[in-house]
């Protein structure tokens, strides 16, 4: 049942993208705009997210919003994720696009339903991204970087901050308008 919900949610986002296809302009302030849906895996969870990418010359800025699948669906705890990604074309032969990527991710969830006990997770990552296709693009991205977790501990009566190394693998599709 939970997988069916996930399937429909994914379908919902695809529909939104398709709807946008007929109404959005192809250029925004002299930039190319594309929308993406992606699935990312890191040491915490799988994340499903929607992104908007604005490309100007060789630089691409992408902002996105998603959620942790295991936490949100299987553990019934809403776990939103926000990200910003900056990428630069390293090699582009019109069909395969190789980019260097730097990204920042923020996600959080409340561990206790009855009171506010929020854990915040940040990731600062760098790696590469491969895009294949022209208007409809398939992309794969691999990154490594730093990971932090912060939360308030009642036991120690202070905010705790943990730092660790992390990794991330992401794949998805995007459509350029």
């Amino acid at each position: 049942m939970k997988l069916i919900f996930l399937f429909f949610l994914a379908l919902f986002s695809f529909c939104l993208s398709a709807q946008g296809n007929s109404t959005k302009k192809t250029q925004f302030l002299d930039s190319n705009v594309s929308f993406s849906n992606s699935l990312r895996y890191n040491k915490l969870d799988f994340y499903f997210s929607h992104g908007i990418q604005i490309e100007k010359e060789k630089l691409k800025n992408e902002f996105g919003l998603g959620f942790g699948i295991n936490k949100t669906i299987f553990q019934q705890r809403i776990n939103p994720e926000f990200y910003y990604m900056l990428s630069s074309n390293f090699r582009n032969d019109n069909l395969i696009d190789f980019q260097l990527v730097a990204s920042f991710h923020l996600n959080f969830y409340n561990t206790n339903r009855n009171k506010r006990e929020i854990h915040f997770f940040n990731e600062l990552l760098t790696g590469f991204k491969l895009e294949m296709g022209k208007k409809l693009k398939f992309h794969f991205q691999a990154e490594i970087g730093l990971f932090s977790e912060s939360f308030h501990s009642d036991f120690y009566s202070k905010n705790l901050f943990l730092l660790d190394f992390t990794y991330s693998a992401k794949m998805g599709i995007s459509y350029a308008f």
Binding site: F5, F8, L9, L11, F12, C15, K43, L44, N70, K71, T72, I73, F74, Q75, Q76, R77, I78, Y109, T111, N112, R113, N114, E117, H119, E149, F151, H152, S153, D154, F155, Y156, L160, L162, L163, D164, F165
Partner: protein
């Protein structure tokens, strides 16, 4: 419109109320979890224990206790040190000075810690007492273990201390400490006989080795049941639904999310 309704249902579903598990205590297994790939700290290390205790909703930790050649209690899980420290030896065969020079094979380069250095500040602990020196094929001196536990108790007088062993011969001497004494039974061992002979009222089981009905039966007899090898959210849910006394979780945060 249909998809928006489905999305709303999804959100509402995410907020549905869970069963009540207030009576079940959550402990971190070997600190903040044993053999967890995404763990920031090594199991049984000071930081790992502190992190588990720091998390709101975690009631305590389980740690593994072994005696050095000098008779001091150290926290370490495996029988042999090789996998975790690159030294092919056992805690029981090394002096304190030699153990102090060791570090875990972990990017944080953490040191092994002594039991007496563990500060619980009122939270509970399960001390898993290791009786065997596998390098020398000997049984560890239980009287020295009792001395070390007594020292630890004096420093953590506000904490509830559970002692666990899987060695029947240690049950009688350990009773002199007057702490909660637990036993890890092997398969098909008769618990009633152990209760009657040794007065033990607490038992440890792997999650997959005990059913909800068995937990209920044992609790009705007045026994406390501790479940371990609880790792994934699915495993945690399965353990919670058996309503044991304590769950030793390898993923403390996931266990807190499932409980609350």
């Amino acid at each position: 419109m249909r998809f928006r309704i489905i999305f709303l249902l999804f959100v509402i579903f995410s907020c549905s109320k869970k069963e009540k598990y207030e009576a079940i205590q959550l402990f971190g297994h070997a600190g903040n979890g044993l053999n967890i790939s995404n763990s920031v700290y090594h199991d049984n290390s000071e930081n790992s224990i502190k992190l588990a205790l720091a998390q709101n909703g975690c009631d305590g930790v389980e740690v593994d206790v072994q005696l050095s050649k000098d008779g001091i209690a150290w926290l370490f899980h495996d029988q042999n040190l090789e996998k975790e420290t690159n030294l092919n030896s056992c805690i029981n065969s090394l002096s304190d000075e030699e153990i102090e020079s060791l570090s875990y094979n972990h990017f944080n380069d953490e040191k092994l810690i002594k039991l007496k250095d563990l500060q619980l500040k009122g939270k509970s602990v399960v001390l898993d007492l290791r009786h065997s020196n596998s390098c020398e094929n000997k049984v560890v001196d239980v009287n020295q273990m009792i001395v070390e536990i007594e020292l630890f108790r004096q420093k953590n007088s506000e904490s509830e201390i559970y002692l666990n062993t899987n060695y029947l011969a240690w049950l009688t001497p350990l009773q002199s400490l007057n702490l909660k004494l637990c036993y890890s039974p092997s398969e098909n061992e008769n618990l009633d006989e152990i209760v009657n002979t040794y007065g033990v009222k607490c038992f440890l089981f792997k999650n997959q080795e005990i059913t909800k009905e068995r937990v209920e039966t044992e609790k009705n007899k007045g026994n406390e049941i501790i479940i371990f090898e609880v790792r994934s959210p699915k495993g945690i849910r399965s353990a919670l639904n058996k309503y044991p006394t304590i769950i030793l979780s390898d993923d403390v945060k996931a266990a807190i999310v499932e409980k609350f």
